[in-house]
Symmetry: D3
Subunit: 253 residues, 6 copies
């Protein structure tokens, strides 16, 4: 089975750089995937992307070395399993707030007897190889989003859940759940403290930890703070940012 380069990077003690796709297009996904990210995540939750788009995007990413990952819309085995069957090598699952939710997610990621994933890796075995069913349980990555006060209260039991490979910080939801403002690159004390606690919990339980960032400066700091994977910007944020700047420069005369 094809290796999971994110695991390989982590195994050699390095951090991984994750790209983020929200535009429902195989073309933009292929363009993104060729830019040098270690992995590229198809956002099926807040991106305007459904399953059909995601399949095309996984194929597009598979033309490059970037590891195809996805954020599913919700902690639902139908989403997790169909996305894995389509060839995702890692799943970021939103709103994991309790141990039971973590177990539900982890179980959907792996075949029996470890989990309850249904067998039928129709495109996944084209991408992964003919021994996919034998090795997938050890190769795929389950990343649980920690983004609510309730999850913070259950942080250790979630982090300890077998089959959860990494915690993933959703800063915007985490902040509003803690009474703060939405947005990436949080600097409010309360949110920063929570983020630090998530990193610590991951380390304590031998798990990896990732975070969604809005700038390279924040992402670099996150790496220094112990994060193993950082997502920086996204296709649509890039367009909004450089597109707006271009218009502004032109209008400035």
């Amino acid at each position: 089975m094809r290796e999971n380069r994110i695991r390989t990077i982590w195994d050699r003690g390095a951090w991984a750089l994750n790209g983020w796709c929200t535009i429902p297009s195989g073309f933009s996904a292929e363009l993104m995937a060729g830019l040098g990210w270690d992995s590229v995540t198809v956002d099926m939750q807040h991106g305007v992307i459904d399953y059909r788009d995601a399949v095309a995007m996984f194929q597009a990413i598979s033309t490059t070395d970037a590891v195809p990952m996805a954020r599913v819309p919700w902690n639902d085995p139908a989403h997790v399993m169909k996305t894995l069957d389509a060839g995702a090598y890692g799943i970021i699952c939103p709103m994991i707030n309790t141990r039971a939710e973590a177990e539900k997610f982890a179980g959907a990621m792996r075949y029996a007897p470890v989990g309850y994933r249904s067998s039928g890796p129709i495109r996944a075995s084209l991408y992964g190889g003919p021994d996919y069913m034998d090795k997938a349980n050890d190769i795929l990555l389950a990343l649980a989003m920690i983004e609510t006060a309730e999850a913070m209260a259950n942080l250790d039991t979630i982090a300890a859940t077998p089959g959860i490979d990494a915690l993933y910080v959703g800063p915007s939801d985490l902040s509003i759940s803690l009474g703060g403002k939405p947005g990436l690159d949080q600097t409010a004390d309360k949110v920063v403290a929570a983020i630090n606690a998530i990193v610590a919990a991951a380390k304590r339980h031998g798990k990896r930890v990732g975070i969604q960032c809005g700038s390279t400066a924040y992402a670099k700091k996150a790496i220094k703070d112990g994060f193993d994977l950082v997502t920086v910007l996204s296709d649509s944020r890039i367009i909004a940012s450089l597109g707006a700047q271009t218009v502004k420069e032109m209008r400035a005369g």
Copy 2:
């Protein structure tokens, strides 16, 4: 944030006229949306419409003044949240039968601390404006469908649920659940009594109330009976009706 014209209409004491789309096409949605309805609802439950179609249809509706709304397939936070992120300003949720189901639905509609909607209004903020996250909780509409005997038994607790803005009568399911015949524009005593009870419950709890109608005559009567929003016909019912009539006229020689 862009206003929700349905709220505006209601605030001035008037009723709203809702159009209904079941054909999975941005073109037919734009055509419908330009005909003068106050809002247009994309039926993701019984329409042959999936998420990708719905996004295109919301964009099409957004070229007009009609308020984009959707009926989701089921009371599932994944459906509700992805549909809101795509720009729907109101959600009609089928089969709300208990207080717990009403709370689950209402919670998915709003950000913390009021609810548990996940932040990421990717197209919604293009439509609503940059202050979307600050104001969405007050602008979007949650309409709970009352369409079973079980829901009738729980009518007051459902109507009283914070965050439920309106009840919405599904006459066909309501009738068969009460032992009657399917169909819109119900006139059977048992069903009419239930509909009246729904209107009364809504009024009692300060909520709005809407209904699906099959004719302008029935819809006009509904408005007199106190309904705040009426849906009349749908794109496919219109085609079936006037198309069949056209063929009949031609065959009549």
Copy 3:
């Protein structure tokens, strides 16, 4: 090979009733096709429909007895042949203005040695049957649109073209080309005279003749005037008409 019911109807001396689809959706096409039209035409010229939509629509129409037809975007063999391969049993080709254009169109409709259609009826043989290649030249219908002053000047040579089965009046373009106003159901003398001349030319050369109508009254008169096929309204005109009327009735309320 499956019969072409339009030919069968004509062979028994009757007129055919044609439905018209402009919405790019297999669902609305299936809905239309079930209403009782003898044929249903997918408008790939002025409908918002591309090839992919058209294939799905031909499949939808093929679930009924209606004969699947198409109007192609232009007199281009690529359009004609791909549309036939997808299973259309008749092609309406716009803007046939000269004998050479008529021959180009007719040649694209039929296999050698009669014409120059390339062999490969990939879906057409699923619909038509395994003997499709043997019989298609005799079964499919080529309808040439007469809709310009130039075409009127060449009416007889066009009508006489072998392989052109019918002339088809495009009243709106015909009118503006003659200096009149756009629109269906033309009553201006100049346009009516031209339409009568087209009917006469068709009869003179043993060809059939069809016309696009905007009302049953006009279509019924056309039949009396000798037309063999009438198209009445379309999916989108139906929605615009009855949809607008519905809104108007409600607002009148």
Copy 4:
């Protein structure tokens, strides 16, 4: 309402041959459906197929005599109901492990008062006919997949569930759940014993039983062993098999 030919076949004591589609294309579905299978199942679970594809595929299958069926991604009423509304005449539901799950599935298949299916058979009534709502409860088929050790433990209560018309063996998941290897055409004693037990339970409770097979030899034996419906190969397995063989023959010089 159009008959369900699978029921008709069963009623006359015969077995049914089911084709299987995993490629998201109306064209390949129509091609498959014309080959002579009694039914054709659109695999929305492990096929790379979403709802929009499935609708087009049901339309394609509806151009033939094959009965349109679907495997849904998961035991979720949203999946079951939307798929029925699109015209599926039978639903294969994965991972039915308990009586409660069987009841949830069976209830989603039928209208009140038998079940809780919501009324709105938008395409289903085009396919089934105008009396669809009256008769659908008796015509549609619910097939519950038995494919885990947990399901084996609950075999009798599942088989006895009213509204479950048939059990359907998922051999690959069943095997791994029992500690065996994945794959179709299982011959390991433990798995064979479980399969035999499933057949026996179905018979005991007056239900039908089907199975997924990888070869005609295995399928023929299954019929002898009492199976009422066998699925053999699939569109993608056929391509993989004969495609690879073709390449091999060519490379063999």
Copy 5:
């Protein structure tokens, strides 16, 4: 009919800023269109965009004030007319090399008696308004690309063609046709001289002139040199540029 804001801008003596879309997605088009460009062009030639995508993108652009334009794949009336019917308010046509090609293009843009555009503005009249057919000839914009040595040889006769509203410089093709290197923002003497000649020819014949640019600096200089419309970057160039820079900054860390 809705005004063409590009004409309005030009009428008041100002220049227009054009955005450029190559990603086949209504979402990215809506995102781009909201950034403040005066017009947004859907590139159906070198973008990975077909007609169906383009329709969705025109709808998306129509939710904003930006004028929807398109570059068609080739000087083919089928492309020009279908794109106008879908609601484009301006067409950039590649490879106009002779007076005859210019006339063919200009004729496809306008209804008889001025041109030979076929009537049927199915979505265009939704966008433009009910008087579309009366006014479209005066409102829509035809921009002819000058990008070959042959076109340079015919510059005056092309520029003088009635119905050609503007010349549009394709710097990359122009350069390779003149024996230079491909690329935007050309500075080679031979190419600069040709570009200056195009500007001069446009002015001489009372036409507008536009150009494709790769940077704001070059675009600003172009405006000073007399250009009336400048295109700067594109959605995909923006992703490639800021995406690569982001990865580079992270790796530099």
Copy 6:
């Protein structure tokens, strides 16, 4: 720029094995492409495939080592150029009957000053590499289909056309044009003689020659007869063949 493995194979004196895709699906294309063909051709002429499908299929093929090729619908520069921009490394063009048609096709394949291809290899450069524009003229392949009596009469002038890399036999059209029966694997003397003449003409002018085959036996003989590329079967022929055989075996009891 990424090599064209078909050229590499030919340069070492070997023959190439080409797979053929007619199903409009990236999934089936990826499945096919992984089976070991040297190249895989997306049939945009007789396949039910439009541009949007083709792009997804090129991406799918690009996940493997197979060379992505396409057959365009017609000898139209818009088709050729858009398909090359999407990443095809070879184009099979139907119905090349004259020297002028051969030159039109060859010119559309290459940038100035050799040809008149417009620059903008938007996905092609993602697949081919950043030096695509410099090297594409030497790497891409132009295959001209010889399939009519007219082409046979012009065989030498077509074969001698600079930029035509190979002739490609379309046996079915060739046969019917010569007065024979349609179908692959022609054995009629007249057709065999024509095929031999095509091979001889290709050799005489230093060009390669390919052919469409329906069986491995015929393809093997073709290789012995001097063919440099053979296409054997297609995705849909494989399904029709093994699918029908499977049903037959099952019905045989």
